[in-house]
Amino acid sequence: MASDRNARSANATPPAAAGGVALSLPAPKKKHYSLLTRRDTITLWVMAGVPTLLVGAFILVPTFSSILLSFTSWNGIGPIKFVGAQNYVDLLSYKQFVPALEHNVIWLVFFLLIATPLGMFLAVLLDKNIRGTRIYQSAIYMPVVLSLAVVGFIWQLIYAPEQGLLNNVLGKTAQGDQISWLGNPSLNLWAVLIAASWRQVGYVMVLYLAGLKGVDPSLREAASIDGANERQTFRHVVFPVMRPINMVILVITVIESLRAFDLAFIVNKGLNGLELLSTLVTNNIIGETSRIGFGSAIAVVLLVVSIGPIIFYLFNSLREEIE
């Protein structure tokens, strides 16, 4: 074994050539390095090292720890015991898990089919040169700056059973006749989705509007000279040109739906009709009984569903660099 290695290394760098190798070390393709002094190199290492250390220690290490811990039965105290896939088996029989997964999917579908298309549609309308477009844009964009916590409180003023705007307008404020928009487990998810969309529509509109502004106007002119009407121009010229933005918006929509948390937690801590993967993980930690292993298994499910769109986004947005 040892002699084998010696033979190979002798092959790779014949003693006679060693000096020559050392002399030609500043390889031509690393031109930048050769211009840097030792101090500059250290500066660069520190400049890149500190941020990398922070992201590594506080984001990446916990991510991988989640995966590892999900195979243990650790409860935070005592030794960490490996239990294989037991937590994942338990998940299937955990009565809040399947609803949470369903609600995340409903959230995603609602955003994909209603909120995001509405935001894009409004952006297309507002991109036209019409009177008052700035005012309309501002009105729809306003909720984007608000925190979801504030959004939650503002919508509770609308949904409250006795004092809420909605029931008062519908005349359903009498005891026994009230509609409990946020309390009824078959209604509250939809009520919360409307509040969430109120913000999401504006977010998508702002992004899409910026994309539309970037479309070369001569493309539209050429299309209109060719006799295309507005709708045809959008479908066959503008929309295809907007492909990168469309992709970003698609990914943002997916990620935002997987991140959904604040509204559900503010309404009822994510229980009783508002279970989401994110609220299950959180309740597992801040609750009385914290099962680290089990909570991590839920987090891993969330990670697994997020990783697809994340990779898609990376390849889409860093395409040039990758090539």
């Binding site: 220690a57 916990p62 916590a149 910026a210 933005i245 986004y313």
Partner: protein, 296 residues
């Protein structure tokens, strides 16, 4: 003759369509403003008035009592200060560190440039709940000395919340800033080398001033996002007195904000800093959002 007629008809049709479009957009805008308008309206009415006249009613007394009451009873100034303690250093640090990272990956060709950029961006896109369970344990275990921490660890400390904001937002800011710095001419670095400027000097006196527009946009965005964050303090802090204002809201409700009118006034006051961003810094905010997305 018929040609003029059809031209007229086409013109009328076009005007009709414009009117329809305006009507649609006005309706949408009114619907979008309504929840905020309703909160504003409610906040100006004393509880006794809404009790007497009903919630959806006009008339009676309007005053600022709810604002005064929620401000003092809810101890809003206290929570605003908590937010400032976390927010200001977090935004400065995240921009400083992200710009240094972006500078190294965009202006020098390292072997791990792409890998690092990918890891950073991915880290920012993860739902925070993916990492929260181990992070919670790390915060309980990781030592931190006084005066930064009064219990010896990261958990339940302002600095802990600040650090996690910085770590989490680094990915997005690095991504945006490195895209921005890539558009600056390469010759700037070469000229700096010729002048004998060090790497640090190139970064601080040449590249950073040119990156100012992107930094301003990102700062606006980060202030809003960190101010609006509800989650981190909820899990990584225990002492309710230390909560930043957005996380504190949930505790204030029920405890101090006993009726809907008070909730409305309290929510609006908590929303004021973000509404300032909306009215005064709209351009910066939108620029920050789109810098991160319009690059294909």
């Amino acid at each position: 003759m018929s040609g003029i007629l059809t031209a007229n008809a086409a013109h009328r049709q076009k005007r009709l369509r414009r009117a329809g479009l305006q009507a649609f957009l006005i309706t949408m805008s009114v619907i979008w403003i309504a929840p905020i308008a309703w909160a504003v309206y409610t906040s100006f009415r004393p509880f006794s008035e809404t009790n007497r006249l009903g919630y959806v009613s006009i008339g009676g007394v309007y005053n600022f009592d709810n604002f005064v009451k929620s401000w003092t009873q809810g101890e809003l100034p206290h929570y605003f200060i908590n937010t400032v303690i976390i927010l200001v250093p977090a935004v400065i640090l995240v921009l400083l560190l992200a710009s240094m990272m972006a500078f190294t990956v965009s202006r020098y060709s390292w072997r791990f440039n792409l890998l690092l950029l990918m890891l950073f961006t991915a880290a920012n896109l993860l739902p925070p709940q993916v990492i929260i369970t181990p992070l919670f344990r790390i915060f309980l275990a990781l030592p931190l000395f006084a005066p930064l921490s009064d219990n010896g660890v990261f958990y339940d400390q302002y600095i802990g919340i600040m650090v996690i904001h910085v770590a989490f937002q680094l990915g997005f800011c690095t991504f945006v800033l490195s895209n921005y710095m890539k558009t600056l001419p390469k010759e700037l670095n070469e000229a700096a080398v010729v002048d004998g400027a060090s790497v640090w000097k190139t970064y601080w006196t040449i590249i950073m001033p040119l990156t100012r527009p992107a930094l301003a946009a990102l700062a606006t965005l980060q202030v809003t996002w960190i101010y609006n964050d509800f989650f981190w303090a909820l899990v990584l802090m225990k002492t309710a007195d230390r909560f930043p204002i957005t996380s504190a809201m949930n505790n204030l409700k029920g405890q101090f904000f006993t009726d809907n009118n008070l909730v409305a006034a309290g929510s609006l006051m908590i929303a004021i800093p973000t509404l300032v961003v909306f009215f005064a810094l709209q351009k910066q905010f939108v620029a920050g959002l789109t810098l991160g997305s319009t690059k294909g």
